[in-house]
């Protein structure tokens, strides 16, 4: 039994008067694909934000690879190897697509105060950035300005940026949201290739994707973990069916 890569213990987060994370405890193993599902407002993104560092819990402890990261600033978590994408893709809009993963590389290496050497001429930088774009399948758009790309391509650019940070843990917030049919298929295929490269915590509403890809599924409702386990167990859990998947048998 190896130690989990990420442990969340008793995490609580209050936003205003609302308890958005209520005593959450989760383990994520190395290389595991861990899906977090639940109805809107269940606190899925809030949980992801606490792992990524965009929010700090009011109580509880988060450890990553043995390090307590509960209150660590976002950029330090990134350098420890926690990468993420956001529900609405966040990109460097004025940059060419290729320069987005380049920022991921600079951030990972902590090489951000160079005043002289042109970024694209840094050793391996352009090759690595191109490789990141190739990994998500948009090499052909490397030199396009990012804010002119479609929603789906922006999401791919953001994933490439996160991958360029060589994360050991990748947080994906609804990677399938807002994608067309073809794009969804491509994204599923991409997620399959990412599986095993890094541990992944993925918030997702697309149940086909969740149940075909995830090793573990955690169900949140009203900020609480109501179930966590293997996909087939979750699918058959009566409690999950009533609270989320819908009471009808034909789900």
């Amino acid at each position: 039994m190896t130690a989990p890569l990420l442990t969340i213990r008793g995490v609580c987060k209050r936003l205003g008067g609302l308890l958005v994370s209520d005593d959450i405890s989760i383990d994520v193993m190395s290389g595991e694909m861990h899906a977090v599902i639940g109805p809107n407002g269940a606190g899925k993104t809030t949980l992801l934000n606490q792992i990524g560092g965009q929010l700090i819990p009011n109580a509880g402890v988060i450890t990553f690879d043995g390090t307590d990261i509960t209150a660590l600033p976002v950029q330090d978590r990134a350098r420890l190897g926690i990468g993420r994408t956001f529900q609405v893709p966040k990109i460097f809009a004025s940059f060419a697509a290729l320069d987005n993963p380049a920022i991921g590389i600079l951030g990972r290496k902590g090489h951000t105060f160079g005043l002289w050497r042109t970024v694209r001429k840094l050793p391996d930088c352009e090759a690595e950035a191109n490789a990141a774009l190739a990994a998500v399948g948009i090499s052909d758009k490397a030199l396009a300005q990012t804010d002119l790309l479609s929603h789906g391509d922006r999401r791919l650019v953001e994933i490439a940026t996160a991958l360029a940070g060589k994360p050991r843990l990748l947080l994906l917030d609804e990677p399938m949201a807002g994608l067309g049919r073809d794009e969804s298929l491509r994204m599923s295929a991409l997620l399959k290739t990412l599986k095993g490269e890094a541990a992944i915590v993925m918030v997702e509403h697309d149940m086909d994707a969740v149940f075909s890809l995830a090793d573990t599924v955690t169900v949140l409702a009203h900020g609480k973990v109501i179930a966590s386990g293997r996909p087939e167990d979750i699918r058959n859990s009566p409690q999950v069916r009533t609270s989320y998947l819908g009471a009808d048998d034909d789900v």
């Binding site: 990134a78 956001f86 966040k90 920022i103 951030g107 990972r108 951000t112 105060f113 160079g114 840094l122």
Partner: protein
Amino acid sequence: MSPSFLPLRIVIVCCVALAIAALAAFGDQTVLRFASRVAIMGLAAVAVDVVLGYAGLVSLGHAAFFGLGAYVTGALALLGYHEGLVVWPVAIGTATLAALIIGALALRTTGVYFIMITLAFAQMFYYGANAVPGLGGADGFRLPARSTLAGFSLDNPRTFFLLCAFVLIAVLLFARRASFASFGYSLQAARDDAVRSAASGIRNYWLRLAAFTISGAIAGLAGVLSANLTLYIAPSSVLSWHLSAELLVMVILGMAGTLYGAIVGAAIFLALVEIISHYTDFWAMYVGIAVIARVLLLRDGLLVTLRKLVTP
């Protein structure tokens, strides 16, 4: 840069070199004085563009750094220190230190709060300079003489103009270079999306602080040159918030985020003021109209629009 721009680039470099040479060779005292002023304000506008265009922050406090550069130069001149190799680093160092301290505090905020805090700090220096005994208060004071540089006199307006032009071009080239290096890239990433850049391991605060401090140093250098050009310093001319605002107008007039645009903007702004103020006291109104026209009609900025017209 695509190959089709290359000839245009060479043309521009040649034109600039020719213009500087022609000014130095044929310009009379008035022309040289005006050209020096354009170079100095262009330098200060470049400093503002580092913060505005690359860090994405509106500073209304750059007069503080410009003014500190000028005041320290002037105060040391009053004490009998004229050697630029000693006086200028002290003056620039003071402005840099002020930028570091003000930036460290102001950068904890963004948006309107950042504007207000930078303005508030600059106003402290403005009123401070009014109150310091021996520096003429609100009336300001005259410098006894221009600095020397390694013993060489800068009294010849031709020499002084060439120095200003050289300093401006050196700073511009350095800043352009840095904008394509990892510092410039990371800074612009933080400007485009600070949440995303942090999630990629970028230390936004320190990058912005470094940019703000470098910007303060450049503004301080401009202040040093300004004091040597005018040989007269008053709070209203080098520390007033109007100066901060005018620098912003210059950058926007030329095109923020390009650095050279700031210089073009400074030249247009000063030329407009120079010409229009011959005819009317209400020159500011016409400059205002020019800014509105630039923002509405030339959204890509003057230079990019020209480039589009020139290159098919």
